[in-house]
Symmetry: none
Subunit: 124 residues, 2 copies
């Protein structure tokens, strides 16, 4: 780990606090809301460098927007209602195993994965 400036630390702090995934735009809004005048450009730059340093994971939402989360966060998956948008965090131990097994079988390394479930919740 090399350079680590103020902005990097801010982003890490927010990611720690919020847990899970967030897009650059969302992270920027959160910081703004908290009174931090940080610029969007800086947020992108900080996230980029954190990804380069493997401190943060970069995934993609279904629409292609980049989302970030702290590496090594015991990560979880989501169950989201297509109707009301309500989301439940769920464990994915089975998925981790599946991903690793499959990746190994095909000789892949530096493996990551995404897995989300969606449906209609009981309230809707």
């Amino acid at each position: 780990m090399k350079t680590m400036n103020k902005s990097d630390l801010k982003l890490i702090a927010v990611l720690e606090r919020t847990g899970g995934f967030a897009s650059a735009q969302e992270l920027h809004q959160i910081l703004r809301r908290e009174g931090d005048g940080i610029g969007l450009t800086t947020v992108y730059r900080a996230l980029q460098s954190l990804v380069d340093d493997k401190i943060v994971d970069l995934l993609r939402r279904e629409d292609g927007e980049a989302i970030y989360r702290l590496c090594g966060d015991g990560h979880h998956h989501h169950l989201m209602c297509k109707s009301c948008g309500d989301t439940v965090e769920i464990e994915g131990g089975a998925i981790e195993k599946w991903a690793n097994t499959m990746a190994e079988e095909f000789g892949f390394r530096e493996v990551g994965h995404t897995a989300e479930i969606f449906g209609i919740c009981s309230k809707c």
Copy 2:
């Protein structure tokens, strides 16, 4: 399967011929190169409707660009190389079970899911 117009068929033809994944822009260029004056808008629309009809799969390149490929039959998942983009179709029996179990546990119905694995393949 419902509507299926001329453009849809053209796109399917190109996807069959080329095999593997291609972005909307690439598919458009290929058609143009072959003398077809189809517009980019139409390419996007055709791809969208093919995805809706589950005739083509939509994934994302690392930079977030959408890439499309003809669906094999049956539901499957993908193992994609972050470096060269090579993709392997894999079975996800474990995932189906996991998704259904979780959904049931939280009272969700009409459940679907996504699960993709990515890493660096042995060639890269």
